[in-house]
Amino acid sequence: MVKKTYRVEGMHCPNCAMNVESIEDDLSGIKQVSASYQKGWMVVEFDEAKVSEAQILAALEKRGYQAFPA
């Protein structure tokens, strides 16, 4: 299990943070996503054996946001 922080672009209200966290439901290998609209980042705790970083970023893009490793 690893924990990585990403800078997220495209969030423009507190509800966006909730949308970003919804990728937890999209990918089974993610344990937890904690996003902050105010800080503009998210912390993802995931199992590298089950899900890749590329899949996480793609899931996020599908929801209209872009993430970059912090």
Binding site: H12, C13, P14, N15, C16, A17, M18, N19, E21, S22, D25, S34, S36, Y37, Q38, G40, K62, R63, G64
Partner: protein, 362 residues
């Protein structure tokens, strides 16, 4: 029972508009989040549609049906619940919970800064303004996401609706005073419930119609909302400054500019002689706007009301710490100690919407 019916009708007629002027900004703030959320959803659907039609086929435009009635209703329901609870406490605990003029002024300024900050956030002026947004605690968002399985955050309208309890308008304050007078927790609660229920239709209609229009105009409307929030924020700050008796408030500056002009409404009350002053507190403010008093002499100020139901009944002189709830019809006498020549003493309604001043110069 009569008192409760009167409270409902007062809310329906004067309370709704008066409260919207003071609390409309909080409602706009909560709806603004809902609008932004709908735009997000629309963008996501458009992205999905683009993927589906990637082969060059004609792209269809997907419109999201606006669901704005729910957040407005939640805002109003939270407001109703909060004021009912306040009525319960006021009835039970009496005047202990009443806020004084300076506390209200500070609160108004704080709310104004909050709203202006939110408007600047919407304009993307600087990331620092993101801290003005109400971000619900993680356990709540997680709970909403996992149990409700929808994208609508109900926290902001609920929270902001409950917050209105801290910024009551003049009519509401008058009703709060009545709730204290009941001396009974249950009666106080029912009275405030009836009053706030009365104010709700006006709140709902204006907000819903405005927001329906906005959903069609999409992003442009977001900018319009930001401008409205910014203006309401500045109005709130200005009301706070007025309530503090600050000469820096726009209201008091305009007042100073108008001071030289004759005021026809002043004919409604007896002429002041410099020692005994007469002031009319009407439904549209105070007259005359400027009273002249003799310096270095104790003054008697008579504030006269005649079927007055507006905010002006909650009369405040910040410099003296005077706060009076005037009768609907009658005269309230206030003793003012001797003041030095050149002193300008400002008075206003308790929300700083109506103002005037006493100049000690004779």
């Amino acid at each position: 029972m009569n008192q409760i019916i009167v409270a409902f009708i007062t809310g329906l007629t004067t309370g709704g508009l008066s409260c919207l002027a003071v609390q409309g900004g909080l409602l706009a703030s909560s709806l603004e989040q809902q609008l932004e959320q709908q735009l997000d959803l629309q963008i996501e659907q458009e992205i999905a549609a683009r993927r589906t039609h990637r082969s060059g086929k004609k792209r269809s435009r997907i419109l999201v049906h606006p669901r704005l009635a729910l957040p407005i209703l939640l805002f109003l329901a939270a407001k109703l619940a909060a004021y009912t609870l306040l009525g319960f406490l006021l009835g039970a605990l009496g005047s202990v919970l009443q806020l004084n003029a300076i506390t209200r002024a500070i609160l108004l300024i704080a709310v104004g800064i909050f709203m202006a900050g939110n408007a600047l956030r919407m304009f993307n002026v600087h990331p620092i303004f993101r801290y003005f947004a109400v971000e619900p605690p993680k356990f709540i968002t997680r709970y909403i996401r996992r149990t409700a399985k929808n994208r609508e955050s109900f926290f902001a309208p609920l929270f902001l609706g409950a917050l209105t309890v801290f910024i009551p308008c003049g009519v509401t304050q008058a009703m709060m005073a009545v709730a204290v007078g009941t001396g009974n927790a249950l009666q106080g609660a029912v009275l405030m419930f009836a009053f706030i229920l009365g104010t709700s239709p006006v709140f709902f209609l204006i907000a819903y119609l405005a927001m329906q229009l906005g959903a069609r105009m999409e992003k442009w409307f977001m900018r319009f909302v930001a401008v409205v929030i910014l203006l309401l924020g500045l109005v709130s700050v200005n009301s706070g400054l007025t309530l503090m008796g600050s000469p820096l408030s726009v209201t008091n500056m305009v007042q100073a500019a108008k001071a030289a002009q004759p005021d026809p409404a002043s004919a409604l009350v007896p002429q002041s002689d410099g020692v005994t002053l007469f002031l009319s507190a009407g439904n549209s403010g105070y007259a005359p706007r400027v009273l002249h008093a003799r310096a270095d002499t104790p003054i008697t100020l008579n504030v006269v009301t005649n079927r007055t139901y507006s905010c002006s009944r909650a009369f405040v002189i910040p410099a003296l710490g005077v706060e009076k709830l005037l009768p609907e019809s009658g005269t309230e006498t206030i003793s003012i100690p001797a003041q030095a020549a050149g002193t300008v003493m400002r008075y206003s309604c308790s929300m700083g919407m109506y103002t005037g001043e006493i100049v000690f110069d004779q």
